[in-house]
Symmetry: C2
Subunit: 205 residues, 2 copies
C-alpha cells in the first residue's frame, strides 16, 4: 500500500485517463510516452515520476478495466424472469459499448495480440465466472424457460454483438452513412438485438 499525496492521486488519475485515450487508439506498442504525457499536459520525465515504466501504466489500466468489464455479467442472476434477465444483460453491455468505447477497444487490442498480460485472468477469474453463469442459464433451459442451446456460445454472441458497436464503430458509422450513423444507431442496435436474441429471424405466420 504506497501512501499517496494529494498531487500524486490527482496526477496519476490524469495520466491514466490520458493513457486510456492514447492506448485505445494506437495500441500499446503504437503509443509513446511522449504522446501520453502531452495528452496529460505534462512533460515525459514528469510522467515517469508517477509511473516508472510505460508498462506500469498499461498494467494499472488493465487491472481496473477488467473489474468494470465483468460487472454486468456478475449481475446476471437467477431471481428474475430468464428472458428479461438476458435482455437486460444485453442492454447493459450495449450501454457499456456506447459509454465506454475506449475501454472496450483497449480490451480488444489486448485480446487481439494474444492477451499476453491478462491470460491468467482469462483462464481463472473470467472462466469461472462464465462457467457459473452458464450453469444458471442451463438451469433456465432445463426448466423450459428459454430454448435449449449452448450457454457458453450464447454468452460469446452477446459479447460479440454488443462490443462490435464500440470496437468496430468506425466501420458501423461508415456503412450506416451520415443519416443513420448518428447517435440513434445504439437504439436501433438495441431494438435489433432484442428481437434477434428473443425471436430469431424465422417469420411468424
Amino acid at each position: 500500500m504506497p501512501r499517496r499525496t494529494r498531487i500524486q492521486t490527482e496526477k496519476r488519475e490524469l495520466i491514466l485517463e490520458a493513457a486510456l485515450e492514447v492506448f485505445s487508439t494506437h495500441g500499446f506498442r503504437g503509443s509513446t510516452i511522449d504522446q501520453i504525457a502531452e495528452a496529460a499536459g505534462m512533460s515525459k520525465p514528469n510522467l515517469l515520476y508517477y509511473f516508472r515504466r510505460k508498462e506500469d501504466i498499461h498494467e494499472q489500466l488493465m487491472q481496473r478495466l477488467l473489474q468494470t468489464w465483468l460487472a454486468p455479467l456478475r449481475e446476471l442472476d437467477d431471481i428474475g424472469d430468464p428472458l428479461t434477465e438476458l435482455r437486460s444483460y444485453i442492454r447493459r453491455k450495449l450501454e457499456m459499448a456506447r459509454d465506454f468505447p475506449r475501454e472496450s477497444r483497449l480490451f480488444a487490442n489486448e485480446i487481439l495480440q494474444g492477451a499476453p498480460r491478462i491470460m491468467s485472468m482469462l483462464e481463472g477469474e473470467l472462466k469461472s465466472l462464465v462457467d457459473e453463469k452458464a450453469g444458471i442459464i442451463q438451469g433456465w433451459m432445463r426448466s423450459g424457460k428459454i430454448a435449449r442451446t449452448d450457454p457458453w456460445h450464447l454468452i460469446f454472441s452477446i459479447w460479440a454483438t454488443t462490443q462490435h458497436y464500440a470496437d468496430f464503430d468506425v466501420q458501423v458509422r461508415a456503412v450506416l452513412g451520415p443519416d443513420r450513423g448518428g447517435e440513434g444507431r445504439f437504439e436501433d442496435a438495441a431494438r435489433f438485438l432484442e428481437q434477434l436474441f428473443v425471436d430469431g429471424l424465422k417469420p411468424k405466420h
Copy 2:
C-alpha cells in the same frame, strides 16, 4: 503495371505471407521490418528491395484482404430460399474465421485504430455492397419470408458473431477450457449460431 520477374513474384508472395503472420499478431506499429524479413527468410535490405517501405507491404496486404473479405457477402443473392441463404452466409463467414484467422485479426486491428488506411474503401465499396444486400434482405422481409427487422444491423451481428471466433480466439479458448476449446469449438459455434439466428431464445411449447 510493373512488370515482374519470376523471382520477384515468388519473393513478394513470400514476404506478404510472412508480413501477414507478423502484422496480425503485433499490429502495424508493433511489427518491425527485421521480424518480417526473418519470418520470410531473408535480410532486411533484401526485403526492402521488393517493398520500398514497410507501409507498402501493409497496403498491399490490406488491398488483397478486402477483396477476400467481401467475397462471402457478394455471394448472398436472391435466388435461393432466404433463410437458407442467410444460414449459408453465416456458415461461410464462420469458415473464414476458422481458416483465415490472421486475415480477420489484421482487419480488426485496422478498424480498431480508426481504419486510417481504408476509410475510403469502407465508405465507398463496402457501404454500397452492404446497402445493396440490405435491399435484398428487405425484400425478403416485405414478402414475409423472414421476420421484419433491421437488415444493416443484421449484417453487423453476423460479422460480429463469426469474426469473434477469430479475433477473440484466445479468450474463447481460455473460457471453454482444454476440453471444449479444441477444434470442435467451431462446430459448436455453427450449431449455436444457426439456432440463434433462426429461432432466437424464446422457448417453443
